[in-house]
């Protein structure tokens, strides 16, 4: 079992997981639950400030066959979404810049982009990378 979660009481018709909220955010748990929602009804509760409890109940009437495998899959999925959050946190700014630049030069923006588009350090250089040239007018 991954360090981020542990298994609570075994039950033939439910799988319960305890997740360290410091390692996996509520959003990451919700995203993992989304992908499990085809086969399971997913409930997420905050047990306390540190621990979230996830309960998976199979949608069909059959009992859980391979609980350990399902628990591993859920925790792996939740941890992957936590990683994606970290990547997004480090790259969302540059993604906005890249997309703004790509579409600004393509001439498909009808309105001037809102906010400041550019890297202050880069724009100070003579050969600035991120220089939004303004919306082309035709």
């Amino acid at each position: 079992m991954d360090e981020s979660g542990s298994i609570s009481t075994p039950d033939a018709n439910r799988i319960a997981l305890e997740i360290d909220r410091g390692l996996v955010s509520a959003e990451a748990l919700l995203k993992a639950s989304y992908w499990f929602s085809r086969d399971f009804v997913c409930e997420i509760r905050n047990r306390n400030d540190q621990i979230a409890e996830v309960v998976l109940r199979p949608r069909n009437s059959a009992s859980v066959v391979d609980a350990a495998s399902i628990q591993d899959s859920f925790i792996t999925s939740a941890m992957d979404f936590a990683l994606r959050e970290k990547i997004d946190g480090k790259t969302s700014g540059v993604r906005d810049l890249l997309l703004a630049k790509a579409f600004s030069e393509a001439g498909v923006l009808e309105d001037e982009p809102q906010g400041i588009f550019g890297d202050a350090v880069e724009e100070a250089k003579p050969e600035s990378m991120f220089k939004i040239l303004g919306t082309p007018r035709f």
Binding site: W35, T91, A106
Partner: protein
Amino acid sequence: MARVFYPLERFAPATPTFHLLPFRFTRLNGKELLVNEAGEFLFVPRGTVQRLTDESLDTDSALYQDLKAKQFLYDNSSSPLLDILATKIRTKFDHMCGGTKLHIFVVTLRCEHSCEYCQVSRQTATRGEFDMSPETADRAIAMMMDSPAPAVTLEFQGGEPLLAFDVIQYIIPRAKKLARERKKDLDIVVCTNLACVTDDILLYFRDEGVKVSTSLDGPAFLHNKNRPRPGHNSYEKAIEGIERSRAILGMESVAALMTTTAASLDHAAAIVDEYVRREFHSIFLRPISPYGFAVKTRHRTGYEMDRFLDFYKQGLAHILKVNRDGYRIAEVYTQILLTKILTPHSTRYVDMQSPAGEAWSVLVYNYDGDVYASDESRMLAEMRDWTFRLGNVHKDTRRSLFTGDPALQLFQASCNQALAGCSDCAFQAYCAADPVYHYATQGDMYGHRPTSGFCARNMEVIKHLFSFIEENDRDTMRILWSWITGKPLTEEVVECA
């Protein structure tokens, strides 16, 4: 002499020397697959994403250099290349440029076939009230030419459009005249079952530069089962029509499409072999569409997506074998996806675009003047659901079509970058949003990805293709590249078979 320690800062973690660029990832075949915003990808060892996020990746490693070269990260020496990444992203979205390119004219609902999977509520072959009128045709032609696209495709559909050949003859010269005036290139295609084609019709098509797209579902037993008509001779009619069309129009002007019904699922190899026997060089393994009349008959023609995926994989394996044996035939869906995965470009295939191709890349002008966002939208209307009717050629302009409520609702659900389940997906750059499909199958334009047949199909097909890429078998990749580039198989591939 007193000895002193270095200052505390000396022992602090080193300042990161690289910065991440946006990417998505998934786990595949024991590795991590990273895909950046431009669709460039890299298979990396497990744990790499963790090392990237906690900035512990060895900057002297070959892996670091690969990640930098593919623009998953940058450092001081590579930062000027970010402009290039923006250009690559723009190239990946070049299908958005130019406006609507494909314009489908439903010139009649009449048809002499009674296919169970047909998405259209066909009318009997003699009911002329289901033909497009000259006034409607004039308005539709004008609306087509209002598209800013410098090159447009006019596609005749039905019913069986050849039953309204007089309407086709009315439209073609007028469309050509207006295209010349607007300085647009115009391609013309007729989608026909060829059952009622004549030499006179084909000679007209030859003179006007019209291409033919027909249906061939497989060998006779399967084609005739799928496509009943009086005389039970749909296959014989199709084959005869294909041969006559090729003789008059040329081999390159005749294409065929197949639809996979439940009856097809056990015959993947036989279907491919039929296409080879008929000297086609492409085949599109298409699932049945969950629209229109097909919904009424789904208990006979429908199936679960898992079964289609088995069929697709069997069919693709057989197609690759046929190529290894020296006959070049491409699987079209594979070709489309690999173009997205392995080249900087997107494709013009409207069913696999984000923003969705519906309305943006294709418009359908029904016989009665109603304008739909796609052929599938029109099929929904045949089931008395007009959600995706954008307007009517007699009442609307191109601007009002695109700013009306139906179009705006559609556009809101058209970007997979902003859809639950898609926004984090590693395959986002290769995949699409399909609001019409999800509305038809799930009652919701946004859709629920875990239970979506669209998602299941594309997720599995893309994973399957990435398995080929990761395996990197020389012969297989040479065949796949020949499909992407349109070049013939090299002799070397034939020798290796």
